[in-house]
Symmetry: C2
Subunit: 210 residues, 2 copies
Amino acid sequence: MSTRGRQAEAARNDLRLLEAAHEVFTTQGFDAPVSAIAKRAGVGMGSLYRRYRTKEELLQRLCLIAMERVVAAVEEGLADPDPWQGLVHYVRACVGFGSGALAPVAGTIEVTEEMWRTSRKATELAGSLIGRAGEAGVLRSDATVLDVSLLIEQFSRPAPGPPGDRHEHEHAKERLLAIALDGLRAPGRTPLPGEAPGLDWYEGRWKRSS
Amino acid sequence: MSTRGRQAEAARNDLRLLEAAHEVFTTQGFDAPVSAIAKRAGVGMGSLYRRYRTKEELLQRLCLIAMERVVAAVEEGLADPDPWQGLVHYVRACVGFGSGALAPVAGTIEVTEEMWRTSRKATELAGSLIGRAGEAGVLRSDATVLDVSLLIEQFSRPAPGPPGDRHEHEHAKERLLAIALDGLRAPGRTPLPGEAPGLDWYEGRWKRSS
DNA sequence: CTATAACGGAGCGCTCCGCTCCGCAAGGGG
DNA sequence: CCCCTTGCGGAGCGGAGCGCTCCGTTATAG
């Protein structure tokens, strides 16, 4: 039986650890103490550090998972025949699990090759989702993939304050997101100012300053 | 001559301190070290702590100033005869100087009576600005004052990363803000979900949990 | 020239974090 | 049934970094 035995407990711990880390980091910021994650997962520090030899390693794993979830969200969006609904699903999903909440970590951890690959795959796929919406004439023509990505990032910043009013805040944010999505719809009423952000800058933020 | 003498230097230091504190706190977060503020102002720690007996006192002063600037921004908006342009000016001004960047401090410092007064005056005035736009039929009818305030708060979150690409990020945010403002315009294409946030919750975030 | 007032910044005391290490309990082969 | 192995929890170590104080120095006022 897979729910018994030491190895099974280890596997369960691994999952709970990942969930807890996601929860803690996205709500308290990436500089939250590691002990908070262990406590939330109901696991000792020893068990945590046996799986991830350092906090950075844990963050890398978490970022990779987030990127993979973004890829999944885009694919779900592309699966929707309606270009607009597909785009909305993508944005809502990403904001929902806080894909951009780990963005402040940019430049503070080493980015693995696998992370680069997944990230690029995500932006590429998102590009086709946004492109499809643009050609269908439902997305304002002056908005680019990166505008949408940055919008997601902006909206998945963690809510401050005590855990009590987290729900209220989350709900208020959904209203704001609805407003922003309306503003994304074609045709734009006011043209977007300046140049669209460049892909090199967008990716460059993750390069270590060192 | 007012630019010479020890007392004049003291006055100048006071201003530079306030500017530096605003800059540092809004870009690095409210838990930035006090020494960083002193360094940025070109002032010693002693001079800082002679004016503000504690970090909390400095934060209170800063919050009050931010609130006063919000009041000024609303009044400027109301002075504009065009209801929509007035509202846009208000939002742009608040995001511009990062009025909501100090929001994460909510619940961590004591709120003085003067702060309460100024804050309430700001929301009240903003209420009439938003009300005017609503009656003129330029603002979507399901958006409330608090939606707009929270939008401002969301958009004045500090940009992460090294100070290098601060400008790029700021520019990208202006594009996002333009999108959001478009979404605020009447008529809304998708109704806002759920109930509008309540004033009691909005203000309650500043009460100490203790 | 002296008394005074404001200055800069080194450093104290403390909190808190990442990480290690160890005593312990629960499998599972002989 | 025993004992060795494996994974467990958490106390605590070393050190970084913070708020704040205190003092030697310097510039002004009388």
